[in-house]
Amino acid sequence: MKLTLKIWRQKNNSTPGKFESYQVQANEHMSFLEMLDVLNQDLIESGKDPVAFEHDCREGICGACGVVIDGQPHGLLKGTTTCQLHMRFFKDGDTVTIEPFRAQGFPVIKDLVVDRSSFDRIIQAGGFISVNTGQAQDGNAIPVEKEDSDASMDAAACIGCGACVAACPNASAMLFTSAKVSHLALLPQGEVENEKRVANMVKQMDLEGFGNCSNTYACEAECPKEISVENIARLNRLYFKSSLASE
């Protein structure tokens, strides 16, 4: 299949970017990123600057990849990262628009690569359980209800790609933050620090320039791991409790 790609090109964060058009020959078995590989090989061989995009595991788990494809973070397929999107969902003659995840909290580094270190700082603010190595009791000492453990795992499945932010009209990082808050809050080991954790993580989230949540649920719709907005509700409840406790 022959495709026309409209790709956002931007040299760095201090230079304005613009869309440029390219033609590429793809086939239906390729992944979306393999299609970009083909384009880049052509560009390099013809002495042009290849398109920078982030990627690593190419099996949908590392969270490194992620671009906006025709207006949707990670493209049209539900519950799928960019690297797991295959070209059989496109057809010959299509024009495909590819842009970076856009948010104040994710400054552009080059082309489709953005800086998501803000997510690391949100985790550093409290997204952990304060236990040193060697302090643990036997793993079976505290039974955890299977339902809680499963719900915790659902939230913990977040890959930190940032699609939720890119999808949100306010560029809010609430789904990401609440997924970590929920993962830990649902376990007896994590519950102890709930109030401090949620307060610190939300504070950091605000400092990073992410917007507020206005319940559009676009984040849930675009999340490649289908993390539920119920986590945001849980964060809000815990945040409310926490703010009462601190007054």
Binding site: Q41, D49, Q84, H86, N132, T133, Q189
Partner: protein, 667 residues
């Protein structure tokens, strides 16, 4: 010059060695720890757990990753699980049994004392991870669930759906994040190690390239810990992430560290087959699938043809016309034979012409029986009497989905086929490298003050790694071994002041790094880095892949030397050094892979026996099983790189005092 390889295995009875050694090990007092600096390279399970734990202990840690975040390290992609000798299932497991299975699984080519220590600390890992909030799978009673894995007869694998690596890595990442927040660890993202700085025989720092700006930077410390992963990407196509590379280890080799058993590579039996020559990587389907999936090819060639050309659906082929070759050849372990055995059996089936896809390089992994079995049992549980076929299938699919849902989904996304309805197609692919930097019992390389953890060392898996043991080793090394053993070196360094990056060794390492990068970028040849990497991969897979022979290996050596010469005269790297330039990052890594490839071939040629992942065609039994030659090859082959001649072999004899060397049989 011969290097003496002292394994430093402590005296005493096997089961007491670690405990006694740990109790008598020299320590570094808290006031001294505050002054002592440690560099950790890599943030996978081994690196993140080591950096976090060393930070907790009070050392000043600087931690480096080439990724944009420590959470992206490739440990994240491990699916199946982590072993531990908890014996929660009361099925006869013990530390000794885990030790024994690992030694046997590794085909008697690993060090007894290291493996026993691994088995001992395995139980602490589970406790630690639970305390950190790793959401392991649980039973309805609230206790931890287990499943079984290839090569063993007990259920000792702990798991978090099909994302165990992700959850364990996030646990370690969160522990690391906590130390970053407290200031104990300074984290450097998007910084790639380009050289090791050795001063007076001791590892004292690294040269890194800031991947955002392209600038070279110097970092000094009292010692350096590498946890930079494996080298499977030397094959180009592997289940490794695109960025996984050997360069940190290889730079250490170029500074005198030895590479042990580089030819031991693990070819994982259950990966999605190659679909075309544009392919950038291969995707693993977790080994846990072999708990319930049955591997087969058709008995008759006519059926193979029919399936290939689409005139016959595999699910319609009657039972008696299928060859469940693993169950037939290995009745005791069946579909759960170790990875090397399963991979070679798949290759043998395809070599006979039974491959079931167009390229002839695929076999089936079938869940129809499991769906039926689970469906019936669910129906019984739910009190449904005389369930019809549709009900059974529906219930059974539900159970299979709960166990492997994410894997089935991934398979369907990639192939467009529904594995609930038709058998999966699988084929072996490069997955893990057992070889790595030579280390002693302290995990210290032959370069003083340079430690290696996790997949980047060679220590625990011998010639073949058992499933769910990589996660175990990474975390054992990082949480429970290095925090102790690093003291054996650092306790002698308490009077050493902070190391200065003004030392001439830093300047010369930096200059060499710059010269190498300038050379690469100024070649301005005709072929892209990717094109060379593919060529390298084809040579390695063809001659140093699932089976090897002397003639092929000799040919490969020549091909690799020619390819390397061609690379350094015709590679095309766009852009500049002092900027964000992913192609240059890749060019640096591929150059190192080429040299490593040569060493792998030399090692494979030297090892005139078949063991684990290393299968030499000249050494096999009459029925095609691997033939080990214990009299001559019960040693670790540690190689010293030499720019001008072949690599130089140093041997560490392996002594087995506790287990008897047997022919590994899974029949």
């Amino acid at each position: 010059m011969s290097i003496k390889l002292d394994s430093k295995v402590p005296e005493g009875e096997l089961s007491q060695k670690w405990m006694n050694y740990r109790s008598k090990m020299p320590l570094v007092a808290p006031n001294n720890k505050r002054r002592i600096e440690i560099i950790v390279v890599g943030t996978g399970l081994a690196g993140a757990s080591a950096a976090a734990t060393l930070g907790e202990l009070g050392y000043k840690v600087k931690c480096f990753t080439f990724h944009d975040s420590p959470r992206r390290a490739h440990s994240i992609a491990a699916q199946g699980g982590i072993n531990a000798a908890k014996n929660y299932q009361n099925d006869g497991d013990s530390v000794y049994r885990l030790f024994y299975d690992t030694i046997k699984g590794g085909d008697y080519r690993s060090r007894e004392a290291n493996v026993h220590r691994l088995a001992e600390v395995s139980t602490d890992i589970i406790d630690q991870c639970v305390a950190q909030g790793v959401p392991f799978a649980r039973e309805y009673g609230g206790l931890l669930a287990n499943r079984s894995f290839g090569g063993v007869q007990v259920s000792r694998t702990f798991y978090a759906r099909g994302q165990t690596g992700q959850q364990l890595l996030l646990g370690a990442y969160q522990a690391l994040s906590r130390q970053i927040a407290s200031g104990a660890v300074q984290m450097y993202n998007r910084h790639e190690m380009h050289d090791l700085v050795v001063i007076d025989g001791k590892a004292r720092g690294i040269i890194v390239r800031n991947l955002l700006t392209g600038k070279l930077e110097r970092f000094a410390a009292h010692c350096v810990v590498l946890a930079s992963g494996g080298y499977g990407n030397v094959y180009y196509l592997s289940t490794n992430a695109m960025g996984s590379n050997v360069s940190a280890s290889w730079r250490a080799v170029k500074r005198g560290a030895l590479m042990a058993n580089p030819c031991y590579t693990q070819i994982h039996p259950t990966c999605i087959p190659v679909s075309g020559d544009y392919q950038s990587k291969l995707t693993l389907m977790s080994e846990s699938l072999r708990n319930d999936g049955r591997v087969w090819v058709p008995k008759e060639m006519s059926d193979v043809e029919a399936i290939r050309n689409g005139s016959l659906r595999p699910e319609d082929l009657p039972e008696e016309k299928r060859d469940y070759y693993l169950e037939r050849r290995y009745p005791a372990f069946g579909n759960l034979v170790p990875r090397d055995v399963a991979s070679r059996a798949a290759k043998a089936a395809c070599d006979e012409g039974k491959g079931v896809n167009k390229s002839g390089l695929a076999v089936f992994l079938d869940f129809a029986d499991a769906i039926e079995r689970y469906g019936k049992s669910e129906a019984l549980k739910n009190g449904i009497k005389n369930p019809d076929k549709a009900t059974i299938t529906k219930l059974g699919e539900g159970v299979v989905e709960a166990k492997y849902g994410n894997l089935f989904e991934m398979y369907e996304k990639i192939t467009g086929e529904n594995p609930y309805k038709t058998p999966m197609m699988i084929y072996p692919a490069v997955h893990y490298t057992m070889g790595g930097l030579w280390v002693d019992y302290n995990l210290e390389t032959n370069v003083s003050g340079l430690f290696a953890l996790g997949e980047c060392n060679f220590s625990d898996h011998g010639a073949n790694r058992l499933g769910a043991s990589a996660l175990m080793q990474g975390l054992a090394d990082g949480y429970f071994v290095i925090p102790y053993t690093i003291g054996t070196f650092l306790s002698k360094e308490i009077r050493t002041p902070a190391i200065s990056t003004d030392h001439p060794a830093f300047a010369s390492a930096e200059n060499e790094t710059r010269a190498r990068l300038e050379k690469l970028i100024n070649i301005k040849g005709k072929q892209t880095v990717e094109a060379f990497h593919r060529k390298l991969g084809l040579i390695m897979w063809e001659y140093c892949g699932m089976s090897r022979n002397a003639e092929g290996l000799k040919k490969a050596k020549k091909l690799l030397q020619d390819l390397r010469a061609e690379y350094w005269s015709d590679v095309l790297v766009p852009g500049e050094i002092d900027e964000f330039n992913p192609e240059l990052d890749k060019a640096f890594r591929v150059a190192d892979f080429m040299e490593l490839g040569e060493m792998m071939v030399e090692d494979a040629l030297n090892r005139e026996e078949s063991c684990g992942g290393h299968f030499r065609e000249e050494y096999q039994t009459e029925d095609g099983e691997a033939l080990r030659r214990d009299d001559e090859f019960t040693y670790v082959a540690a190689w010293e790189w030499n720019d001008n001649t072949d690599s130089i072999l140093h041997k560490e004899p392996l002594v087995f005092e506790n287990v008897e060397l047997k022919t590994r049989s899974y029949k």
